[in-house]
């Protein structure tokens, strides 16, 4: 996300439309291999895969394919693999190393995982968001795994005397000419290599030293496992790497790092962004046992990217004293540029704007004529309140700044971004800043923004001791980078046969870009690419519009970002339209998606800067058959069309987000007015499936988060300050009322259907599926998120 935001903020938008030249076909590279590098790593002719371009290559520092960076093998056979993405619950710290281990032939029980520091020049891009980890890195993991297997095979040949020269000579000959020598006669098995002639086996550990001297092969020199040969990939049988530590209390999260002499800081921040600090009295705070110091942080005004909000910090010997000290501060805040932000007024303004024509982002056909000639126009509007991510672990970071160097421990989604921002804040060269990534107790986009780590760094420098900055839950909810609030107005033109001839969708919402650049009030290509301009409906005349709305608080990205309000609006609207026309909701949805095809952005009026989640469109096109397939699958599994008792309803919604397709069929039972969800069927098509077990857990989690945001999540503002504080007024669904049984149905594909991520795409269709079910159960149409926990 960050990368695209920085591009947009700098006005450098690089649309990704190039036709990709695919890498060598299997035939070609097997041909090459036959000439020079016929590693008989498998008894049979192993298959490769056609390398395809992913957006990862365009991210800052791109993708790294060097196995010597990611893998090391000890003489006892322990294989150590680097996890370079941040673990916040998706399982990425297990799943990516698992792909590498499987391709190389490692025995998972002998694999150790170490977490990379923030170092993108070394590891490639580490910015863990956008549901990108598997999508961007599965190929590089496979390539590095195959490379190590190749290097071990050559080492084994030398070990067995099949090559009768020292490995240094082999290494020298390696690059010189394709047919200097032939590599054959060994088979790489599980954690060992066998001599085909003698049956003798040698372990990876014993080969490690020689293998290290073998030059890293090119992609074209490699052969890859056939999908049927995977032992871990696609199976979902690997235990998440940190699970044992998590269940025994040993896992290390942000607040769990202890440094000698460490102080704890809790900060009073301005209630409205940019409100000046007029005066404060710390007498009471200082009198609390354990409070040691008071420090000021400068107040910042938007746009300030991730710069801390500023305020007054209480530094104490332990957290309890720091919290009590902070709460005892008496502070007078002045009026800031956003001190008059009031939700009620602002929402009314957004509604007005949504009802007027907006800036046209996509125009296809002749929408004006379609609406002018319509037999009927049907329009509705939907809204969403701001939300805070509220990860279970509130923001926290530890910094030790001394002798011109800074060392940070933090649960951050973008460790290298954090390192850059801290280097800038401390005016240190980047080499003198180290960022260690702990486990993240949830992220959801909040921990992409490292304001809390910058606070720790500044305070450690000022106090001259290691400092942990601890956010309380109240701090987290008051000072988030909030999910935007929005009003989405959708209208359709209908002809006299009730066919939809025109579609107009005006989206009005403060933009994330306002956190990075002077606010224009308009959304930018990332936001409009998330379910707005890319609406996959086959309607001849389209007008996709964006009305102006200025930001008055820090807007950030929250799991699934703009897809949440878009799926909410579009999928609610289709169901409403079906009722209006007396049609079945699922049938109308399928009909609007239309014929099997790939959308054709340039010829369908998409904007020039259309953003396909950073992917080259041809590699990850919008494929209507996949969206219809998940819709039908969820509907069928849920028993769509069956008669339900009064007070019960099924609702359906489908959405493509982050190039993954998800449909949800939710069952709602109204029990004494309470909205309950006894069952949900989620159909997901994310291309090739690497770890089905973690895909299921992500879908189950999305169901809960989706239900929470559908029923509960609203941050409202008064005089610029967030009105909610903790779980009593910003509740999360609990064990008493959650989607009780979530069935996840995963569409399986071969590797040639490019893998995509699942961290975010499960969330957007949940809320509309629930609201559609509530309507079908009660006849009440709820258009404003959150809809509340009860219906009358």
């Amino acid at each position: 996300m960050l990368h695209y935001l920085e591009q947009a903020a700098a006005g450098k938008v690089a649309p990704r439309k190039a036709i990709v030249v695919r890498n060598v076909s299997r035939r070609t590279f097997l041909g090459t291999a036959a000439a020079g590098f016929a590693v008989a790593a498998f008894p049979k002719d192993a298959l490769g895969f056609a390398k395809y371009e992913v957006g990862g290559s365009q991210m800052p520092h791109g993708l790294v394919y060097d196995p010597t960076v990611f893998v090391s093998i000890d003489s006892d056979g322990t294989v150590t693999i680097v996890a370079h993405r941040s673990e916040m619950g998706t399982g990425v710290r297990t799943s990516l190393p698992m792909v590498l281990a499987d391709e190389m032939g490692a025995d998972w029980d002998r694999v150790k995982i170490i977490q990379a520091e923030g170092d993108e020049p070394k590891y490639g891009n580490q910015d863990t968001d956008g549901s990108r980890s598997m999508r961007h890195h599965i190929q590089s993991m496979r390539q590095m795994g195959a490379s190590v297997r190749f290097m071990l095979a050559i080492a084994a040949m030398q070990h067995f005397g099949i090559i009768d020269q020292p490995i240094e000579a082999v290494a020298e000959a390696f690059g010189a000419s394709d047919d200097q020598f032939e590599v054959q006669g060994v088979t790489v098995g599980v954690h060992e290599v066998t001599n085909d002639a003698t049956g003798e086996a040698v372990g990876f550990g014993e080969l490690a030293e020689i293998a290290m001297l073998v030059p890293v092969p090119e992609f074209e020199q490699l052969n890859f496992k056939d999908e049927s040969e995977f032992r871990y990939v696609g199976k979902g049988e690997i235990e998440p790497y940190d699970q044992h530590d998590i269940t025994t209390g040993k896992a290390i999260y942000g607040a769990d790092v202890d440094l000698p002499g460490m102080k704890v800081a809790v900060i009073a921040r301005p209630p409205a962004v940019g409100a000046p600090l007029v005066s404060y009295d710390a007498t009471a705070a200082r009198s609390i046992a354990g409070v040691e110091d008071i420090a000021e942080l400068p107040i910042t005004v938007m746009p300030a990217k991730f710069a801390p909000l500023g305020g007054v910090a209480v530094i104490a010997a332990h957290t309890d004293a720091a919290i009590r000290g902070r709460d005892a501060l008496e502070i007078e805040w002045g009026e800031g540029p956003h001190s008059n932000y009031n939700t009620e007024e602002f929402t009314a303004e957004m509604r007005e704007t949504a009802n007027a024509p907006g800036k046209v982002l996509r125009k296809e056909g002749d929408p004006e004529a379609a609406f002018a000639e319509a037999a009927k126009v049907f329009g509705r509007e939907y809204s969403q309140a701001h939300m805070a991510h509220a990860p279970m672990e509130p923001p926290v970071a530890i910094a030790d700044v001394k002798d011109g160097k800074a060392e940070i421990w933090a649960p951050v989604q973008s460790p290298f971004g954090t390192r850059q921002d801290i280097a800038a804040a401390l005016e240190l060269p980047i080499e003198d800043v180290t960022v260690h990534v702990t486990l993240l107790g949830g992220g959801f986009g909040r921990k992409s923004k490292c304001d809390f780590a910058i606070e720790a760094a500044l305070l450690s420098r000022d106090v001259g001791a290691p400092v942990r900055v601890q956010w309380t839950r109240e701090d987290d909810i008051h000072h988030s980078f909030f999910h935007t609030t929005s009003v989405e107005r959708i209208e359709v033109a209908l002809d006299d046969q009730d066919a939809v001839t025109g579609w107009r969708h005006n989206s009005v919402a403060p933009s994330i870009l306002s956190t990075f650049a002077e606010d224009s009030g308009h959304q930018f290509f990332i936001e409009s690419g998330m379910g707005h301009v890319d609406v996959p409906f086959e309607i001849p005349n389209m007008s996709i519009e964006n009305g102006k709305a200025m930001a008055h608080t820090r807007i950030g990205w929250y799991r699934a970002v703009s897809n949440v309000p878009r799926a909410w609006a579009i999928q609610s609207f289709v169901a409403e339209l079906a009722d209006e026309l007396g049609r079945d909701q699922k049938d109308l949805l399928i009909e609007l998606i239309g014929s099997d095809r790939e959308l054709d952005p340039p010829n369908q009026g998409f904007p020039d800067d259309y953003w396909n989640y950073g992917e080259v469109y041809q590699e990850y096109p919008i494929t209507t058959a996949r969206l219809k397939n998940v819709t039908e699958l969820a509907a069928e599994k849920a028993g769509w069309g069956a008669d339900l008792p009064a007070g019960s309803g099924l609702g359906i919604a489908a959405h493509r987000a982050f190039v993954t397709y998800v449909a949800v069929a939710a069952r709602v039972d109204i029990v004494d007015g309470l909205i309950t969800v006894p069952e949900m069927h989620i159909a997901v098509d994310c291309g090739f499936v690497a770890n089905p077990e973690r895909i299921r857990s992500q879908m189950e989690g999305a169901a809960v988060m989706g239900m929470t945001l559908a029923l509960n999540s609203a941050i409202t503002f008064q005089n610029g300050a967030a009105q909610q504080s903790n779980f009593y007024d910003y509740d999360i669904v609990r064990a008493t009322n959650f989607p009780k049984v979530v069935h996840t149905h995963i569409v399986e594909h071969p590797f040639s259907v490019h893998a995509a991520g699942v961290g975010e795409p499960g969330v957007p269709p949940i809320a509309p599926a629930i609201a559609n079910a509530v309507f079908n159960a009660t006849g009440q149409r709820l258009r404003d998120l959150p809809i509340g926990t009860t219906v009358s």
Partner: protein, 150 residues
Amino acid sequence: MAQLTINGESRTIDVPGDTTLLWALRDLAGLKGTKYGCGVGLCGACTIHVDGVAQVSCMLTVSQVEGTEITTIEGLSDDGNHPVQVAWRELNVPQCGFCQAGQIMTAASLIEDKPDISDQEILDGMSGNLCRCGCYQRIVAAVRTAATGS
């Protein structure tokens, strides 16, 4: 100065008696398995056992627990194989894992001597523990597995 018995060990902790137990455990006793999630008794991340009964440590002071037996996640079992911990791993319950120490402590106290605990008792018994990652379906299944042994 408070004298506490934590995981069977006697500890002297140098803080005023009204210090919040959660922070005394984390910052002063060095037991980091117990987590802070809300500080007001609403999330259960800080759940420990006081004389075998689950309690939220953010709502207790150290003086309130003097003379009791405190158990934290670190002391729930010697080998990490309490039936709840085993069930948790068998069903791959955790996502980010941050809430799970609290969930496990609540579950362990909930199922104590209740092999035929009802579904409703499980739901009610676990309702004080939030999981933002949304692991409830597996949490409920794992509590049942741990309670019944199957």
